[in-house]
């Protein structure tokens, strides 16, 4: 299990990224270690605990039910590859999609960068974006939950 080395330069980088992208918070995790940088308490529908953790056993019990509900949601959009998520076409630009948007099937939802290649991830179905479970700059694993479209 990871030990938490407080990497101040990483936090500074994340803080800068937060400012530049206009995001409210960024959280990265590695094993059990997590760093979360937030600008303000914001009403974000997605509880962060609902993200599937890398270590399955590490999640606290009360979150389990909520997580399972999200995990098994029929409108779940999962990462088709390993990489880094970007919610905007370029730094500083408006995000591809926002919470509450009515989405069309095939519309670009976000980008996953893998090996310097930007892979647009498209909506598998039409519907309303009800949960956004990742932030720009998040590393994602294969199969990780990205968002939920209802």
């Amino acid at each position: 299990m990871a030990k938490l080395n407080v990497d101040t330069s990483l936090i500074e980088t994340l803080a800068e990224l937060l400012q530049r992208t206009g995001l409210t918070e960024i959280e990265i995790s590695e094993g059990d270690a997590r760093i979360r940088v937030a600008r303000e308490q914001h009403v974000l529908q997605a509880p962060q605990a609902s993200r599937p953790a890398a270590a399955p056993a590490a999640t606290a019990a009360p979150d389990t039910a909520a997580r399972e509900a999200v995990e098994s949601h029929p409108g779940a959009v999962r990462a088709p590859m390993v990489g880094t998520v970007y919610l905007t076409p370029e730094p500083g630009a408006a995000p591809f999609v926002s919470l509450g948007d009515e989405l069309r099937e095939g519309q670009t939802l976000l980008i996953i960068e893998a090996m310097k290649v930007m892979n647009p991830i498209r909506a598998p179905r039409s519907g309303r974006l009800v949960q956004l479970l990742v932030n720009s700059g998040d590393p994602v694993e294969y199969g990780e939950l990205l968002m939920i479209i209802e």
């Binding site: 590695e30 890398a54 270590a55 390993v82 880094t84 893998a114 199969g143």
Partner: protein, 450 residues
Amino acid sequence: MIGKILIANRGEVALRVVRACRELGIEPVAVHSTADAEAMHVRLADASVCIGPPPAADSYLNKLAIMAAAEISGADAIHPGYGFLSENADFAQMVIEHGYAFIGPKPEHIRLMGDKIAAKEAMRSLGVPVVPGTDGPLLHEVMAREAAERIGYPVLIKAVAGGGGRGMTIARNETELIDGMTLARREAKAGFGDDRVYLEKYLERPRHIEVQILADEHGNCIHLGERDCTVQRRHQKLIEEAPSPVLDQEQRAAIGKRCADAIRRLGYRGVGTVEMLYEDGAFYFIEMNTRLQVEHPVTEAVTGIDLVKEQISVADGQRLAIRQGDVRFSGHAIECRVNAEDPKSLLPTPGTVQTYHPPGGPGVRVDSALYAGAVVPPFYDSLIAKLVVHDHSREACLARARRALAEYVIAGLSTNLPLLQAVLEQKAFATGAYHTGWLAGFLAEWQARD
């Protein structure tokens, strides 16, 4: 300095690398497919990245996914283990071009040894004997007759385009040669769309003996003796031991030096294994494996040298701290490969382990990612554990191996433990008088029992 290693593998070898990392103070990062989310190598690593769905082609063989995993996890080196991408020169090249250290040889050497014909040429020119044969395809009968006379009967007629034992015919005299050539040509044409054939000396009862090499990039190259891997079936090794029961100290030093000298001249770096056939006192090169070998713990047991730590160190550009004169061989070691397969039919038996009790006590080492509740998925290799025992003599080692096998409990799925026990009870194994065809013969007889 390497500080964080991404392990592009699974199962016991991933665990083996995690262990070396821990002891070196390096952070191990695991990758896994969705089928291996609960696997032991994932649990014991500092961090893990899911890289794809169960099929190996989409996960453990997915170069891009592995590179992306290295990127997001901040690793500075990649260890390929064995199998999967470990002997993929393009992958090694990709790893290096993206600024990571590849814990293995230089891509050019992986490429050279991956081409079995070029590898033989190279080793022959470096002074390692190869199986005598014709340099090119046989053009006509006269040429075949002359070549067979020169090589000496029996000879093997092989398809140029063949492989995996297909398209081969044995000829013990001239009549068989002429008849065999016609037949082999027709088979080759039908099987591979190419009717060219060539000749090679046929070894009747060879042993499989391999030499472990360790080299740094500063021109230091040593050998760590041999492993005898003769107990095999369809090129799948079952039991390996060191030292070989048929070599004496002088022969060991001579073949070891010959291999180490050749590999040094090649400018090779890392661990590597020169695989040879041995018959009537002569060695014949077959191939070189440019990676960590499954059976490396046998060598670790008799030399006390940690091959994975050494491999990481030389990949990091360090100089070998061990000289040839420092290498001491102590006692005897035997490895038994425990597979999730039916002991009689040898068909894979994936499933869930219900109860797990590995053997212990003096001189016993078990490399395995199993635990009670572990799932053995149907997608990958059936090797689930390696039992390695060490003792002062071969006889004592054999007794220890039998004792340890009897202690091993793996319930919930079928394993080849009964077969391993039966093999170790055989007189031929006890005396060391076996050859590469021996196991197939024993199996046929053993399968027919009951």
